[in-house]
């Protein structure tokens, strides 16, 4: 298979320049792929898929039975990010996360940013993810958003933009680690020759970050990963991370609060827990503090948390910075807390709560992407140019009914990357989700998860909507001159 028929068309392509020549950092990879004997690449693709199925690296689609267990589709052609691009992105992410953390802390304490009228107070207080219960909370070391998975997209100009901040329970990092394992076996020589930055240290970094939060001064704090259970779509990841860190994977039913501490039920009696990497949303974490109907959570855990006897990552309440309407204010938030201009721009955003913006949105629904403030996974979303008249009308009604709950953005012409389709290569749209850990310093996993919309022309990369993934190679620019 070669790339002679491959066309970048009118998009920014991750591996090729507009004139059809490979970008400098992907040249080695392209040459290798073209030099493979006929049929070899397809064989590699099939072998990779079989490996994933056998390893049981699958996810569940909500609301369906066992038959809907699927492997996350995987494309063996990696996406390459040049080191120069990456350095700037990394600096931008660090700047953004530091400011967002300061913002969350301010919102639950003095609310200075509201008093200074940088953000309208009403926007914050009306957010579904604002937790009144968290006012005055002091999480260990002053850190709220320990793990973030920021979604980035590249537009036609090749510039990275931030599309979403995911500060609650971002998932997908396990695929980054597994994809890399598979790719190392698929392209061993080119991998070794390309000087790709390693991702393997993530579990170590995560563990160190969690240990750093431990409230008790003990030599070996007890760290656990908290999962909603095997039917959660990201269960594989929860289990994988626990395994990689060598810590217990617990469910709500394993934990119980008494004598002012959180304990887990073990075969030898109860044992105190110090740190939880929780993968359950705020809403469900404590039926006594939040949703009383939650059966996943641990009754009373918030009291223990407030008393500083357990640490949680991420801290309850971080979701306030995840609201897609508040996202629109992040450039101002960065300026306010750091005094700097944002390194990574936002995608321009119209806030439907704002009268002027709303009438523009309603007049231009066929050109815009509309998103609900607190949905994820590609749900609650309208892609104007691809929607029918009827769908647009329905969304117009939704917007008019609860304007606070919606925002809109121009349709970004997401960059594409060559992907195996049928027996050849076709361009498919991709995004990028780097993972950021906030400990005594900030660590950004080099690269991150590249998600790819496998349907021709589709701009939705979510796994629940037919998306797949690719390995992401960050290659030092000096080594690919």
């Amino acid at each position: 298979m070669d790339f002679s028929d491959y066309r970048t068309e009118d998009y920014y392509d991750e591996l090729f320049q507009a004139n059809g020549a490979p970008r400098s950092c992907s040249r080695l990879l392209i040459e290798k792929i073209e030099s493979l004997p006929d049929g070899d690449l397809m064989q590699k693709q099939k072998a990779a898929e079989a490996m994933l199925l056998q390893m049981g690296i699958t996810f569940n689609v909500y609301g369906s039975d066992e038959g809907a267990e699927k492997i996350f589709p995987f494309d063996v052609i990696p996406r390459v990010v040049a080191g120069d691009d990456w350095e700037k992105t990394e600096a931008g992410l660090k700047q953004r996360i530091r400011s967002l953390n300061a913002f969350i802390d301010d919102i639950y304490h003095g609310k200075k940013i509201l008093k200074d009228k940088v953000i309208p107070e009403e926007i914050i207080l009306s957010s579904k993810t604002y937790r009144k219960e968290c006012e005055g909370l002091n999480p260990p070391k002053g850190i709220w958003c320990h793990v973030t998975g920021t979604d980035l997209v590249r537009d036609k100009d090749g510039q990275f933009y931030v599309l979403e901040d995911n500060l609650r329970c971002p998932s997908g990092v396990s695929y980054v680690l597994e994809n890399r394992q598979v790719l190392k076996r698929t392209f061993p020589q080119v991998f070794a020759a390309s000087n790709v930055r390693a991702v393997d240290e993530y579990p170590n970094r995560l563990f160190e970050m969690l240990e750093y939060l431990a409230p008790r001064s003990t030599e070996a704090p007890v760290v656990c990963v908290l999962t909603p259970g095997i039917y959660n779509s990201a269960y594989f990841e929860h289990s994988f991370l626990a395994q990689q860190m060598g810590v217990e994977l617990v469910e709500g039913q394993d934990l119980v609060v008494f004598d002012g501490f959180v304990h887990m039920r073990t075969t030898k009696g109860f044992k105190k827990v110090d740190v939880l990497y929780r993968r359950i949303d705020d809403d469900f974490i404590d039926p006594k503090a939040f949703r009383p109907d939650s059966v996943l959570g641990i009754p009373g855990i918030m009291e223990v948390y407030k008393a500083g006897r357990i640490a949680m990552a991420n801290a309850p309440g971080t979701g306030i910075a995840d609201d897609k309407v508040i996202y629109a204010y992040v450039p101002k938030i960065i300026k306010y807390y750091s005094g700097e201009d944002p390194i990574l721009p936002n995608v321009p955003t119209y806030i439907c709560w704002n009268d002027k913006d709303r009438s523009y949105v309603l007049d231009n629904l066929d050109k815009l992407v509309v998103k609900a403030a607190n949905e994820s996974g590609g749900y609650g979303m309208l892609i104007g140019p691809h929607a029918s008249q009827k769908e647009r009308e329905e969304f117009a009604e939704l917007i008019k009914k609860s304007p606070r709950n919606y925002m809109a953005q121009p349709t970004v012409m997401l960059s594409r990357a060559p992907t195996i389709v049928g027996g050849g290569f076709e361009g498919r749209h991709v995004d990028l989700r780097p993972y950021i850990l906030y400990s005594d310093s900030i660590y950004v996993l080099p690269g991150g998860l590249t998600r790819v919309a496998l349907k021709k022309g589709s701009l939705v990369v979510n796994s629940s909507q037919g998306g797949g993934s690719k390995d992401t190679w960050v290659i030092d620019s000096r080594s690919c001159a």
């Binding site: 056998q54 390893m55 049981g56 289990s239 075969t267």
Partner: protein, 324 residues
């Protein structure tokens, strides 16, 4: 370790062992058919009776034909003890502790289930049941072999092994019980070595025929009972299962053998002591079926005791009456 994790490992192994043993029940009759083709069609009912689920079978299938019995015991998803249901449950348990077991174990169990699901369409189970069932048995062995050789023999492993052995003890008792339900010879066959052939089929299904012959040489009912119940060395004999299960339990609790600190140790220790001080003559005098029935009840009690000792922990109750 976490109670839930111990519980999942225990049940994962019980289910795999259960699936393997369903194949063994079916094997009794298939072995018989190979040796006595005239028996074709006569002995399918005992396969169901021995499970204790004959009412459910009759309600849904009615007739005891080969197809019905194989369908029920192998692929019926509504029947919780069919091979496919057991493997599904084993795999879900394994999935919930995959960070505890070795990846080899998980991958083998995952493939085991996926292949069985796939084989539903190929109908190998009906075309060549012997081959099909031997694949199931070998895969069950592969799982326990992987567990033995790829997982550290620590607490989690001992919970797994305890589950496996308690299940095996129960299932060996049921394989032996199949003989009780078997039809008596037809008049023209009286005097033929028919009875012995049935006993040999039972031994074969427990993979015990050769090992039995090394000890007793020729088939005799009382000695088959002696072997499957009391043999010290044969790994599927009930006594062997109880001995090793008790070892695992004491490894977990740290209590010296011969003493107990939990209800689970007490229940299993008593059962094991009874086995140590019972002879096959007494079993025959009491009635084999009655003995096995009672054994199965006591094994259920051990399971309940394991459950409340290790898995169902309750937080300490505040002594409210005193403080008020």
């Amino acid at each position: 370790m976490l109670s839930r994790v111990a519980n999942s490992g225990y049940w994962m192994c019980r289910y795999v062992e259960r699936a393997e043993n369903v194949a063994r029940f079916l094997g009794v009759n298939l072995n018989l058919l190979l040796d006595m083709p005239s028996e074709a069609g006569r002995q399918w009912e005992p396969m169901i009776q021995v499970t204790g689920d004959h009412e459910e079978f009759q309600k849904r299938y009615g007739e005891y034909t080969q197809e019905n019995v194989i369908q029920f015991l192998t692929f019926d998803r509504d029947y919780p003890n069919s091979i496919i249901s057991c493997l599904y449950a084993a795999r879900e348990n394994a999935r919930s502790i995959r960070e505890i077991i070795s990846s080899e174990m998980w991958e083998q169990l995952n493939t085991f289930y996926l292949d069985l699901k796939h084989s539903e369409q190929t109908s190998l189970a009906f075309r060549d049941p012997n081959k099909f069932l031997s694949i199931i048995k070998m895969r069950g062995h592969m799982f326990s072999g992987l567990m033995y050789s790829t997982m550290s023999h620590g607490e989690a492993w001992h919970f797994n092994r305890m589950g496996l052995l308690l299940e095996r003890a129960d299932k060996t008792s049921r394989i032996l019980d199949v003989k009780y339900f078997m039809l008596l010879p037809r008049p023209e066959e009286v005097g033929a070595p028919f009875d012995n052939i049935q006993w040999a089929a039972v031994l074969k299904s427990a993979s015990a025929l050769e090992m039995y012959r090394k000890r007793f040489h020729r088939i005799a009912p009382k000695q088959v009972i002696e072997f499957l119940l009391f043999d010290e060395q044969f790994p599927r004999s009930i006594r062997h299962c109880l001995t090793k299960a008790e070892e695992s339990m004491h490894w977990i609790t740290g209590t010296p053998m011969g003493r107990f600190s939990t209800p689970a140790e007490k229940a299993l220790g008593r059962l094991k002591a009874d086995f140590d001080y019972t002879e096959s003559d007494e079993v025959v005098a009491q009635g084999v079926h009655e003995f096995l029935d009672n054994l199965q009840t006591r094994l259920n009690k051990v399971d309940e005791a394991v459950n409340c000792t290790f898995f169902k922990l309750r937080p300490p109750q505040k002594e409210q009456t005193q403080s008020q």
